[in-house]
Symmetry: C2
Subunit: 190 residues, 2 copies
């Protein structure tokens, strides 16, 4: 079927772009780099996408949506705050192990996003951050956590989790998850 093969070829191009953007950065990657890696002439790339910026938008918004959906699912769950934090760690590890290149690009290259995508992206990120901090503060209010500044706690945790995007090569998911959970929950613990 024509449509199916067109979609998957586009996705293949996007995935290859994610590999290159991760390796060389968005600005450091040319359409010619991408074309030679997918086995096409440079101009043929434009049969599948409208612009180089579209590639970055697809990668970043794809990840952003998955994080947003994942957070929404966890946020409304009737479980302890400690379990919510563990679920969020699990969410980041799911992303790290499923889309190791895309999630790195999402993390490091989003500032090159064109408007109006950039503004949307920042809004999604702020919403994620707000919910994450609310869970943390809920833990503090219940007397289960013990940190003084939710913004600092959030940022330390999120940076630790974004390290896992690099760690994917060297660790098994279960090891990384238990170590990360231990370390983070120990830091939060009362």
């Amino acid at each position: 079927m024509k449509t199916v093969s067109t979609i998957s070829k586009k996705q293949f191009i996007i995935n290859t772009a994610a590999d290159l953007f991760k390796e060389k950065g968005y600005s450091g990657t040319s359409i010619r780099d991408l074309a030679s890696k997918v086995g096409l002439e440079p101009s043929s790339i434009y049969s599948h996408i409208k612009s180089k910026e579209e590639l970055l938008s697809e990668i970043c918004l794809g990840c952003a949506r998955q994080f947003t959906d994942g957070m929404e699912g966890i946020y409304v769950l009737k479980i302890s705050v400690r379990k919510k934090i563990k679920a969020l760690i699990g969410l980041h590890l799911d992303m790290a192990f499923t889309y190791p290149a895309s999630v790195t690009v999402f993390n490091d290259e989003w500032r090159h996003l064109p408007e109006p995508v950039l503004s949307d992206f920042i809004l999604m990120r702020k919403d994620y951050e707000k919910k994450f901090k609310r869970i943390l503060m809920e833990g503090n209010n219940e007397g289960k956590f013990n940190f003084s500044n939710p913004e600092i706690a959030f940022n330390i945790i999120i940076k630790s989790l974004s390290w896992s995007y690099e760690a994917v090569k060297k660790y098994k998911r279960e090891d990384l998850e238990s170590e990360l959970s231990d370390f983070i929950l120990n830091a939060l613990n009362k």
Copy 2:
């Protein structure tokens, strides 16, 4: 004196380059961007530097040397491991507050370094990492710390500290230092 003014103009260009590399990335910054920001014609930049890559090398190696020297000073001190970790947090905050742009470029753009600088840089980083981990493991051996994997502990700490490079705008140094110390030492604590 001619030499003095020449040196400081070059340093001004390097500092301006650090601001731009931080804002737009190394590949996303052109010599023309830099020239217009320092108020010169593009070609005049080359009266002060040999190449764009030299700018990145100066920035990254300058920071690397400061971290290396700082670590060496702390490593040989006869103080408790807990105080050594606090001193290392202080070192990162010194860098963050003194060179906020350069240290961000050092952190995010080093992969664009040309050889043989890149290899030197990676060696310095590995040495820093090795000493940091030894201090952490010493704490574990003395029964003062309690984590299971020194590499994971190191990476979480270093990522948390590199967050401070962004946090410089919003926090006072003393607040950031006490919050960061509390959080990290609590996570390491037995």
